[in-house]
């Protein structure tokens, strides 16, 4: 018998395939998705005890089909009681495994499912939850615990998401070409949100939330396998790998954050850095350069520097100039200002930062205060820097960020040497 982890990996890999088979056969994405979730839960209980069946996919399809048919019969009976026309119920033959249940399906439906789960009618929170359940094969309880909400809340969110897709007429098919690119962009954004949700939590009491990085990387790998020529898919996967590579170095055992410049680089994951760098180098060699590719390239320059002092800031600055042109937004400007400061001095960085003061998307954001404080500290204005860190600490809603910012302010008060 294999280890429980093997079961979990196998189940998660099979989840979208089984769901794809069911939806192709019966339609009704919402009911099929519930049935597959039931089958996954049954497998999670039975397989470790009884061993993995000879054809795991066929087993899941059979069990899920049975649940689906029970559900549809129940619905039909209800409708009959309400004296409406009888609906068609699949015949019992539908229960017998079809020959192709044993084989990997001809079409890989993962991308179609992702596009459906990231339907534009849904809020980002619902897109995330539904993607993790329907494509990732996570249970509602796992998703709820990752997002720190009660299971009932998450169950409602998922069920409402499926209703909204149905109401919006979302079908199980690839959208036509002009729309497809835009829909794929939403999918990549949702995968990146899942990654970030896990990355910022990947320590301490939130380890389970941290699992989300692994899941986001796994799903992005699956998308990359289906779209190997898409530069932004490669860019996103590279960005995740090059960011996650620093995970072990970003936080102390007591939960306090360590700035990039102060991290112990020997803790960085070399295998991820190599894989990410190879990916992004290949992607940048052709095609147009989208925002994920440029962010991955920036991460690669950081990751390749043997020490913070050896960072190739002129290269990073050039990449931020490109990024600011391709995808201008205030968060990019913040990081761009840091790169300007590292190349042309803190005053030049502060000048760029001043352009954000009138931008209501970020004027009240703690990161603007924090970055300004950092540049003021570089410029030697410790009083203003300390006040800036304290203002940022009051505004942030993140406990570790608040501790970090208070510590920076306290260090300036005590007259300790400024951070490198």
């Amino acid at each position: 018998m294999s280890a429980p982890d093997d079961h979990v990996d196998l189940l998660r890999a099979l989840a979208p395939q089984v769901l794809g088979i069911l939806v192709r056969r019966h339609g009704r994405f919402d009911a099929c998705e519930d049935a597959v979730q039931d089958a996954l839960l049954a497998a999670a209980v039975q397989w470790p005890a009884e061993g993995v069946p000879e054809s795991p996919r066929g087993w899941l399809v059979t069990v899920a089909s049975r649940r689906l048919i029970d559900h549809l019969r129940g619905e039909q009976a209800r409708r009959r009681r309400e004296d409406t026309a009888a609906a068609r119920v699949p015949a019992d033959e539908a229960l017998a495994p079809a020959p192709d249940d044993e084989q990997p399906p001809e079409h890989d439906d993962t991308l179609t499912l992702l596009i459906l789960c990231c339907h534009p009618a849904l809020s980002p929170a619902s897109q995330l939850a539904l993607t993790l359940r329907a494509v990732g094969g996570l249970t509602t309880a796992q998703i709820a615990s990752a997002f720190l909400v009660p299971e009932a809340t998450m169950a409602q969110r998922i069920s409402r998401a499926k209703q909204s897709i149905r109401a919006a007429g979302g079908g199980f098919e690839m959208p036509p070409e002009p729309e497809r690119g835009e829909r794929l962009r939403v999918v990549l954004h949702v995968l990146y949100l899942i990654f970030n949700e896990g990355y910022i939590a990947s320590s301490g009491p939130d380890l389970q939330r941290g699992e989300l990085t692994r899941e986001a990387i796994r799903l992005t790998r699956a998308v990359r396998a289906l779209l190997p020529d898409d530069g932004e898919v490669a860019g996103l996967l590279a960005l995740m790998l090059l960011t996650d590579a620093r995970r072990a170095a970003r936080i102390r055992a007591d939960g306090t954050l360590i700035a990039l410049a102060d991290q112990d680089r020997s803790l960085w994951n070399r295998a991820y850095i190599e894989e990410g760098t190879t990916l992004i180098t290949g992607a940048l060699a052709h095609a147009t350069h989208g925002p994920y590719q440029l962010q991955a390239a920036i991460a690669a320059v950081h990751d390749e520097a043997p020490s913070a002092q050896d960072t190739d800031w002129p290269q990073i600055l050039a990449l931020y100039e490109l990024l600011a042109r391709v995808a201008p937004n205030p968060m990019v400007t913040l990081n761009h200002a840091v790169a300007v400061a590292m190349v042309h001095g803190p005053r030049a960085g502060l000048e760029l930062l001043a352009t954000l003061d009138a931008d209501e998307r970020i004027a009240d954001h703690h990161r603007l205060d924090a970055v300004r404080a950092h540049l003021l500290e570089m410029a030697g204005d410790h009083a203003a820097a300390g006040a800036g860190y304290r203002a940022a600490a009051r505004r942030t809603t993140s406990l570790p960020e608040q501790r970090y910012l208070e510590a920076r302010a306290a260090r300036l008060d005590s007259g300790a040497p400024p951070a490198p």
């Binding site: 909400v149 409602q156 409402r160 990161r367 608040q402 970090y404």
Partner: protein, 120 residues
């Protein structure tokens, strides 16, 4: 992002909600709770007992000091709370505005701290 809605009552709030015309107000609350439950935004919430049931505790010079009742008669007191998980502060404020007691006494909407964070 999670927000807590701190619902303040005045001296007459409970009478208003439990009195003759309270049924319509309670129905509004039921409708909002149903909507928040179905949308998956409701994380939790409770009503607090009347402030006369309060015990105020302090440690004074290392010794526990417990007094019955709230320390001072306030015009408004905390009557209950809701925790919602929603897309934006605007949405949280919209929920608070629809809470019927907002017509009699204020609600405070405050984000909860997140145990996670990004390095800077």
């Amino acid at each position: 992002m999670k927000y807590i809605l701190l619902i303040y009552d005045n001296a007459n709030t409970r009478e208003t909600f439990l009195g003759e015309n309270g049924e319509a107000l309670m129905a509004e609350i039921d409708a909002i709770m149903k909507e928040l439950t179905e949308s998956g935004e409701l994380v939790g919430g409770e009503a607090l007992a009347d402030p006369s049931n309060t015990r105020t505790i302090r440690v004074v010079d290392g010794a526990p000091a417990i007094t019955d009742g709230p320390f001072a008669e306030a015009k408004e007191h905390l009557g209950g709370y809701l925790i919602v998980d929603c897309e934006s502060p605007e949405r949280a404020a919209e929920i608070a505005l629809r809470w019927p007691s907002a017509r009699f006494s204020p609600l405070e909407v405050r984000p909860l701290m997140d145990p996670a964070g990004a390095e800077m």
